[in-house]
Amino acid sequence: MTTADRAHVVDLASTRLRQLNQALHQLRPDTNETLWRIANPRGRHSVAVGIDAPIAIEIDGHVGYYCAGMNKHATVVVNGNAGVGVAENIMSGTVHVKGDASQSAGATGCGGRLIIDGNASARCGISMKGVDILVKGGVGHMSAFMAQAGTLVVLGDAGESLGDSIYEARLYVRGKVASLGADCIEKPMTDHHKAKLARKLAAGGMTGVDLGRFRRYGSARRLYHFHVDNVY
């Protein structure tokens, strides 16, 4: 950690989670307490949730459910794996998981960015509403289920029923897709889309990636107006 000397260090082995979160909630937008480091999370749930300040937090270890849930403005780095619902309903800022993420990563995220260096499990990006998610490994089944807006980029493989009941989210997958869900189809990958993808990758710190290996998926929009012939 490059910021160790200047960061507030909170040791969850000796500090109650409620104290940590309340201290983070009291930070104002112009706070000068911008660097935080959390030690010994030990799989604790709800670490660093509901932050609304432009601060940077590094969490040294694995976290449980809902880490950085509903994050606004903050940059949260997890030096470990993350449990269910990491960055759920993220509004803005960045959440970066250096390891793997469990189910429902970035669920219902409205904005900001979620980066997962490893794999994400089932339902990654479920009901996403504007968040950009970059998964450097693969994603599990039912990822981007009912995804409304935002972008899911997967460098590895995607599990079954990708993009089931998808609305207007954009999906890019470099590896194999086990199957597409209801109303999700492959769409042409034009130069325009490659440029967009390149920007999303660059924002996640990735350059020089072969864009030609990605395929693009989105909504066929057959379910947009309910009709009996389109029932699955």
Binding site: L17, R18, N21, Q22, H25, H45, S46, V49, G50, D52, G64, Y65, Y66, G69, M70, K72, V84, G85, E88, N89, M91, Q103, S104, A107, T108, C110, R123, I126, S127, K129, G130, F145, M146, Q148, A149, S165, Y167, E168, L223, Y224, H225, F226, V228
Partner: protein, 440 residues
């Protein structure tokens, strides 16, 4: 002379409504969608009677002697529980399903009498927040409009697992009502038929729900009461699991509870009547030693003060109303009969709320129709109605000798039918018999 004919007889099984539905299905190839709750006859509060005071019970004097009505919700874990002046709340109804004026009117009416209103599947509007002194913010599977700022400016939070009209079902809002504003709040394209998810995106099962509740408490610094709402299907176990997951308040919605739009077959054939659900839920709280500590709000067909009193006597802490509140605002008003007739229905039966053509301006997003509802006048009507309900409930409570409506108890009740006696676990009138022995 011809032989006498028997009177033409229609089938009780294939009645006029059933025949019309078969013809409609045959013509369209699609199931019927409508708003509202179950319309079929089910055992209900009408099947119960209060006994009133007698030689062995001492009544209170009419409207003069004090009979308390307040209720505190959320005292189990929240540092800022809310206190309602009356135990009648306004149920969650979405902006999108309802017009902004209707939401404002609900807030105005509820605030006037010191009770709460509830958001719905579509986020929190300024009209609603601004005019609701106590506002409950719903967390639904769709998470439309969900954001931490609104969580924090809510007075309580309700995690919706299900609702009485459709336990196990998600929501529908058809394209006619997805205007630019509604679409913007939900992050959806304008004019599409929208589907709200039937299950939450980031938790499954009671163990996960416990962690989810803890997250919401952490985000809101453990200040807000957290309710869990379930549709009545397995009320004993759902109540117990909600409590185990950490709920401050359990909201239990019977099948008469309304919906903005759902399949008719779902509304009429899934879930339990409220009457059958209250006692199992109360029993779960008693078994956990948490009756009156975790509050129970019940809803689904509550219409008047007698219903309120009966629900409280069966062990609920408060009731919630939706359909009745809309009627108080002006829904299904006979004064609009001409317009209902043009829609192929009649006042009192109008339930195509999903089509957005409500002549009363309540279940619509049409700007012209919306303007018909004056939120100040409609709010006043709702406040009047809520006041009357409370006066009625107090009248009954005093007659039973109770100085607070929460002192009503099952012992004050009898049932008119065997079914109601079994469901409410009170004796059949004139007997000491409780069918079923009160078992779950």
């Amino acid at each position: 002379m011809s032989a006498p004919n028997t009177t033409p007889r229609k089938s009780a099984t294939f009645d006029d409504y059933t025949l019309s539905e078969i013809r409609r299905a045959a013509a369209t190839g699609i199931y019927d969608i409508r708003g509202g709750g179950a319309k079929r006859r089910v055992p209900h509060f009408d099947d119960l009677l209060f006994l009133g005071a007698s030689i062995s019970r001492y009544p209170l004097e009419g409207y003069r002697e004090r009979c308390g009505t307040n209720v505190v919700l959320g005292s189990r874990h929240a540092s800022k529980p809310i206190e309602l002046k009356i135990p009648i709340t306004i149920a969650g109804m979405s902006f999108g399903s309802l017009s902004a004026n209707a939401k404002e009117a609900l807030g105005r009416g509820a605030s006037t009498v010191g009770t709460s209103t509830t958001t719905g599947d579509g986020g929190m509007t300024e009209e609603e927040r601004g005019h609701s002194s106590l506002l409950v913010y719903q967390i639904l599977p769709s998470r439309y409009g969900m954001n931490p700022d609104d969580l924090r400016r809510a007075d309580a939070i309700e995690i919706v697992v299900g609702q009485g009209a459709k336990p196990g079902g998600g929501g529908m809002l058809l394209g006619q009502k997805i205007t630019e504003r509604v679409a913007g709040m939900r992050v959806l394209p304008v004019g599409i038929d929208q589907r709200s998810a039937c299950r939450h995106p980031d938790w499954t099962g009671p163990d996960d729900l416990q962690i989810k509740i803890e997250e919401i408490r952490e985000i809101t610094d453990w200040e807000k009461p957290i309710y869990v709402k379930v549709g009545a299907s397995r009320p004993y176990y759902d109540t117990a699991l909600a409590v185990k997951a950490g709920a401050d308040v359990v909201v239990l919605d019977g099948m008469q509870g309304g919906t903005a739009a759902t399949q008719e077959v779902f509304i009429e054939n899934v879930g339990l009547p409220l009457l059958s659900a209250i006692r199992p839920a109360v029993q779960a709280l008693i078994d956990l030693g948490l009756h009156r500590k975790v509050q129970l709000i019940v809803s689904g067909g509550v219409r008047n003060g007698a219903d309120v009193a009966k629900a409280l006597a069966l062990g609920a802490d408060a009731v919630s109303i939706g359909t009745a509140a809309l009627v108080a605002l002006g829904d299904n008003d006979p004064a609009l009969e001409g317009e209902y007739a043009k829609l192929g229905t009649t006042a009192g039966a109008y339930d195509d709320w999903h089509e957005g053509r409500d002549p009363a301006g309540i279940t619509t997003q049409d700007p012209e129709l919306m303007r018909r509802l004056d939120p100040v006048k409609a709010g006043r009507r709702l406040a009047n109605y809520l006041s009357v309900m409370m006066l009625e409930a107090q009248t009954i409570a005093r007659a039973c000798g109770k100085s607070h409506v929460h002192n009503l108890e099952p012992e004050d009740l009898v049932a008119l039918t065997i079914e109601a006696a079994a469901m409410a676990r009170v004796p059949l009138a004139g007997t000491g018999w409780i069918p079923g022995g009160g078992a779950i």
